[in-house]
């Protein structure tokens, strides 16, 4: 009961934080998708560059987020810039990997017949290969979104926007009655956002995938 009361009192704050959280993750996902798909397209046909890109983007994910935010303090200062930058780095791997996988899984016979019809390299990529790889690509973007929603909360250590602020304030007051409520509210906010984002992606995926490959 006490928790619900707490939620009621802080509803405005929570909504504002939610919007900020969603905005920074949304922006990071968008940038990571553009860069990731581009990297995937650029490298999926040649082995060396492909392995290289996967290794680098994989390495990003292994850097502890707490450490990365602190490291970015120097060059990027406080607030959203270091958070956005870090989130983009963390978001690359799932998008790049799924783009490469999706494009490489396209049936060679389909590509050969497209070539035989006289579609040039660009037409084959845009009209045939990307649409066929799309369900796999968008799954990667979904994974990226979920990962970034969690990591974004840590961004509060450098004064980043979102539910992290609520969680970190709660952690600073461990022992007081309000502490648990704050951490719980922040965590719940992230989960609600995750569910909402996933619903959006499900709808987008349904709407943008051809009935012929569903």
């Amino acid at each position: 009961m006490e928790f619900l009361e707490f939620l009621g009192n802080r509803a405005d704050d929570l909504l504002e934080m939610g919007l900020a959280h969603a905005a920074i993750v949304g922006a990071a996902v968008l940038i990571a998708t553009v860069i990731g798909v581009a990297l995937g397209i650029a490298t999926y046909r040649t082995e060396r560059p492909r392995e290289f890109v996967l290794a680098i983007t994989g390495t990003f994910l292994t850097i502890p987020s707490f450490a990365l935010f602190i490291l970015l303090l120097g060059p990027l200062g406080l607030g959203w810039p270091p958070v956005l930058f870090a989130l983009v780095l963390y978001g690359l791997l799932p998008v790049v990997r799924n783009t490469i996988t999706g494009l490489r899984e396209v049936d060679p016979a389909v590509i050969e017949s497209a070539q035989g019809m006289g579609l040039n390299r660009r037409q084959r990529l845009l009209r045939i290969e990307l649409p066929l790889a799309w369900p796999v690509v968008i799954t990667g973007v979904r994974v990226t979104t979920l990962v970034l929603l969690g990591i974004a909360a840590i961004g509060a250590v450098v004064n980043g926007p979102g539910y992290g602020e609520m969680i970190f304030t709660g952690l600073a007051r461990v022992g007081t009655p309000v502490a648990v409520n704050m951490v719980l509210a922040g965590t719940l906010g992230v989960i609600v956002l995750a569910v909402l984002f996933d619903l959006i992606f499900y709808t987008v995926q349904r709407l943008t995938t051809s009935r012929g490959i569903r």
């Binding site: 070539q115 035989g116 019809m117 579609l119 649409p131």
Partner: protein, 400 residues
């Protein structure tokens, strides 16, 4: 060079391959080694040979899916060896064994691929799509909006053919187009395709490893050995009756005469006669006819002249008092006159009295075929093929 007066003018050469060679990186031998081949307009030329002989590589060099190492490709008089490959491919239909339909596009969109690339307007494209689907026996209204996965293998390959015809190309390349389809459907698609070809008259290069398919589909067959060197390039009749060398003979395999039979039709040979009676005749009349002939049975025809019964002397004795169309046995071995000699032979082997009854399209009796006629047909084919080969040799017209 003297031109014999009775020969028709040489048909136009649509595709000329000149000294075409392909060596893949990292290999010792040329996959295709200096192939020179003329393909005439409106003909189906089948490239056939054992696997690894370079037939598919040869075909894929014509639309430059595989770029030749050296040599020239001349299409309708124009050297296309180094022109824009994408432009070239829009002028050449392409059908592959795995079909390669675009799974995310509807059947209509698949067939519209090349018209769209060629920049046709929407109305023209739409009517072309419907025309093509009808040509391959698929109802446009029913199938236009479907996706490839909703079609059977045979239907998918029909769409593959329709799509290849999209831009009304003069030339089609077909790489084992019916290879992955069950035998019954394959036979039907082959027949449909031959009928379609008799209307559209494209120049077709058809690759297969199956000599029987080659004989059936080809106006001309190029039997290829390793490195795509031509063992024999000739009509199916000539290849079967006068194989150029042991390689060709081995490749055709046993039963060349049997295969040859599938190239001629019953209506092209003289039928034998067989004693017949009408179903309305009496048993006594049948008896008399039978006694006057040197056969062991008479064929009873119904009022329309269709074969109704075989009646032998034994049947006549046992069936006393009954009418002729109630005794004896029903003829099983019956073919129409448009059937091949191979069909007729197949029937007569199993048939009673060792003959196949031949009827017209309305089922009326025309005569019979027995083993003598088939034997005679084979001998005359061989005779004329050998004679022709000799004349050509004397004229110096033959290729090596």
């Amino acid at each position: 060079m003297t031109q014999t007066p009775q020969t028709a003018p040489e048909p136009e050469v649509m595709i000329r391959l000149e000294n075409l060679t392909k060596r893949f990186p990292g290999t010792q031998r040329n996959a295709v080694d200096g192939l020179t081949l003329d393909i005439h307009a409106g003909e189906i030329v089948v490239l056939v040979g054992p696997s690894g002989c370079g037939k598919t590589t040869t075909m894929k060099m014509i639309n430059r899916i595989i770029e030749p190492t050296s040599g020239r490709i001349i299409l309708g008089g124009e050297d296309v060896t180094t022109t824009n490959a994408d432009q070239l491919r829009r002028r050449i239909g392409y059908v592959i064994q795995q079909t390669g339909l675009f799974p995310h596009l509807t059947i209509g969109e698949n067939v519209a691929t090349v018209p769209k690339l060629l920049g046709w307007d929407a109305a023209r494209t739409r009517s072309r799509v419907d025309e093509l689907l009808s040509m391959v026996n698929m109802d446009p209204d029913e199938y236009r909006g479907r996706y490839p996965k909703q079609l059977s293998g045979g239907q998918q390959q029909r769409v593959g053919v329709a799509r290849a015809l999209g831009g009304d190309p003069q030339v089609m390349l077909m790489d084992e187009p019916f290879g992955a389809i069950d035998p019954i459907t394959r036979e039907r698609l082959q027949n449909e395709f031959l009928r379609l070809q008799s209307e559209v008259r494209k120049t077709i290069v058809f690759v297969t490893h199956d000599i029987d398919e080659a004989i059936k589909m080809g106006d001309r067959i190029a039997i290829l050995q390793e490195g795509s060197s031509i063992a024999q390039y000739d009509t199916p009749e000539k290849i079967l009756t006068a194989p150029a060398n042991d390689f060709v003979r081995d490749f055709i395999g046993g039963g060349a005469s049997l295969k040859r039979l599938s190239l001629s039709r019953v209506r092209d040979i003289e039928l034998a006669s067989w004693p017949t009676v009408s179903a309305a005749d009496s048993l006594e009349q049948a008896h008399r006819v039978l006694r006057e002939s040197d056969h062991s049975a008479v064929l009873v025809l119904d009022t329309e002249g269709r074969p109704a019964r075989w009646v032998g002397a034994e049947d006549l004795r046992r069936g006393a008092g009954q009418s002729l169309d109630r005794i004896g046995t029903v003829p099983q071995a019956v073919v129409e006159s448009r059937a091949t000699l191979s069909d007729a032979l197949n029937e007569l082997i199993a048939a009673r009295y060792a003959v196949t009854v031949v009827v017209d399209q309305d089922g009326r009796h025309l005569g019979v075929v027995d083993i003598e006629q088939i034997n005679e047909a084979i001998r005359s084919m061989r005779h004329s093929a050998v004679a022709e080969a000799r004349t050509e040799f004397a004229d110096g017209r033959t290729a090596p």
